[in-house]
């Protein structure tokens, strides 16, 4: 089984220096793309590879790239979304800390393909180790001519800057990220216009997640067909899956796209810890719907997870065990979303604290039967299309499925007037 993204990552050890990275075949994709291919060739190859965005939404990468206007001569930007703050998600940390040159190589090729001459990595502030390692790698790449003017003696120039945030979840939303990069409060923008046509300072801008970008050099080196062959399903490539909660071996692993949940949970995660039973899981971070034991054989790819009513999201699984209160878990999730709402649109700003307060009341044994209807109403009123961005609809996904799967647990909180798990 090939693990192109993580094969040169040694957990707990320093990442490869530029020299070592080049020895392992690094920056070959830059040479190939910039010297032998046109930007359109690169876009075509990435499109054929069936690479879908790994940030959560799964939009086809080649298609996103080709949406930038062709006849627009204004400056263009390429931005890497490294603002990994989704609760339960920790996959990009490994790529950022473990092999920063791989990301830089991906950025150079992606920026070339999308005609961008300036690129930013938008990194969350708390990833301090990643910031130090990226800064060093960027300096090394500039010194050796992989960034800056006439990269590998081609006529392509690229300036790459590391931008770190200051701790707000909304910065991961692509339009809020742009607003933040411009030095404003990180408030999302209405779409259209999409960033591909009007992004950073109104210029065409492509934004991709870290895991998406690091796939690009491997596609260029080995071809679209090889990339598709890595996967067990129709979406190309491998996927970095993560697992957290009361499992024997929490962690993250690069596996073929379409690996089943059971395989991740039992073979790689070692199953549940002694004294804990399996109850449910969130397949792709905090803003996805719960799945149950009957879903364990579902393949973790975009379509399969959607068919059973949830989303692949970030591919990082959070396990709810039988010894933890599901209502408490939902309260924790809604507390997070309420706190991180940017406050720009009314449904999110007012609706999320309302759901949080109701769930807190359940926890305190003060829930009432009508509260379940109010919560269900919120899942509608804060659902897709009712708010400015996807934060509140994302917040409603675990709640919606929680009301369906854990109804008896809610009712026990009402009848027993306390949390039965405490």
């Amino acid at each position: 089984m090939e693990r192109p993204l993580t094969k040169n990552i040694r957990p707990g050890e320093e990442p490869l220096s530029l020299e070592a990275y080049v020895r392992m075949g690094g920056y070959e994709a830059v040479r190939k793309a910039l010297r032998e291919m046109t930007p359109d060739d690169v876009v075509k190859m990435v499109t054929e590879s069936n690479l879908r965005g790994r940030g959560g939404a799964g939009f086809p990468t080649g298609r996103k790239w080709s949406l930038a206007p062709k006849d627009d001569r204004r400056p263009r930007y390429f931005v890497v979304n490294a603002d990994e703050m989704e609760p339960g998600a920790f996959k990009d940390r490994m790529l950022l800390e473990g092999n920063p040159h791989q990301l830089i190589e991906g950025i150079v090729v992606s920026a070339f393909a999308t005609h961008a001459n300036v690129a930013f990595i938008f990194l969350r502030a708390e990833y301090t180790l990643a910031a130090r390692r990226l800064e060093r790698a960027i300096a090394e790449a500039y010194a050796k001519g992989y960034l800056g003017r006439s990269i590998v003696e081609s006529d392509f120039d690229l300036a790459l800057h590391l931008h770190t945030g200051a701790g707000r979840y909304i910065c991961g939303e692509e339009t809020a990220l742009l607003t933040a990069l411009e030095g404003n409060r990180a408030i999302p923008r209405a779409k259209p216009p999409y960033p591909q046509t009007s992004g950073l300072w109104g210029k065409p801008t492509i934004i991709n997640n870290v895991e998406t970008v690091v796939n690009v050099p491997h596609i260029i080196n080995r071809g679209a067909e090889w990339f598709r062959g890595l996967s067990r399903g129709s979406d190309g490539g491998t996927k970095i899956y993560g697992l957290s909660g009361h499992v024997k071996h929490p962690g993250s692993w690069e596996l073929p796209m379409g690996t089943t949940i059971r395989e991740i949970l039992e073979e790689h995660g070692g199953g549940m810890r002694e004294g804990y039973s399996f109850r449910a899981l969130l397949p792709g971070g905090a803003s996805t719907e719960f799945l149950l034991e009957e879903h364990l054989d579902v393949a973790m790819d975009f379509q399969s997870v959607e068919e059973v009513g949830s989303r692949l999201g970030t591919g990082t699984i959070i396990v709810l065990d039988g010894q933890t209160c599901p209502v408490g878990m939902l309260h924790n999730l809604e507390h997070f979303f309420a706190r991180e709402s940017c406050g720009w649109c009314t449904p999110c700003r007012d609706g999320l604290p309302w759901t949080e307060r109701i769930l807190a009341a359940f926890e305190e044994g003060e829930g009432e039967p009508g509260d379940l209807e109010i919560l269900a109403m919120h899942t509608q009123f804060l659902g897709p299309g009712k708010t400015f961005c996807a934060l509140a609809p994302g917040a409603m996904e675990p709640l919606k499925s929680g009301l369906r799967y854990f109804r008896k647990d809610f009712e026990r909180h009402i009848t027993e007037k306390r949390c039965p798990w405490r």
Binding site: T128, H161, H163, G167, E182, N184, S252, M329
Partner: protein, 154 residues
């Protein structure tokens, strides 16, 4: 007043962006690194460097969790209270910290040494529960291990 070096660094940062204000968060963090927090005077100085009004910059500064417009302790402790850490027992860690440091979430110890703040997911869910002290991550914590980690910052 900003030092010569601070002014120079802010100007250099601002060059990366099409408009200077793009550098405002990085500039505020740089100033905060040495002073601990952003006073009104610092805010005015940074705003002037970046051609922003102080009010505009305050609007940005107050948006973020990690830019402090009030004094904080020498060491800031960020306790992750997001879902994986919650499942793995971050509430017990918070109770332990509050008891050991004699403070509540959001407060600073009487000796000005520690400030305790909640934070969104620190992205280390495989090592939950985790905390971050001054940018250093501490994972797989129990109340006992937490006391050990804390000791090196006293």
């Amino acid at each position: 007043m900003l030092s010569f070096d601070e002014n120079k660094t802010i100007s250099k940062l601002a060059d990366r962006y099409e408009k200077k204000r793009g550098a405002c968060v990085e500039a505020l963090k740089m100033v905060q690194r040495w002073r601990g927090w952003i006073s009104d005077e610092d805010l005015n100085d940074v705003a002037r460097c970046l051609d922003m009004s102080a009010d505009e910059l305050d609007g940005v500064a107050t948006f973020y969790n990690l830019i402090f417009r009030h004094p904080v302790g020498w060491h800031t402790i960020l306790i992750c209270d997001s879902v994986s850490c919650w499942i793995m027992g971050c509430s017990a860690l918070r109770d332990h910290l509050e008891k050991e440091l004699h403070l509540k979430l959001g407060e600073t110890t009487a000796d000005g040494r520690f400030t305790l703040l909640p934070t969104a997911c620190l992205g280390a869910c495989d090592h939950a529960p985790v905390i971050m002290i001054d940018g250093d991550l501490h994972g797989d914590l129990s109340p006992g291990k937490l006391s050990e980690a804390l000791a090196s910052y006293r």
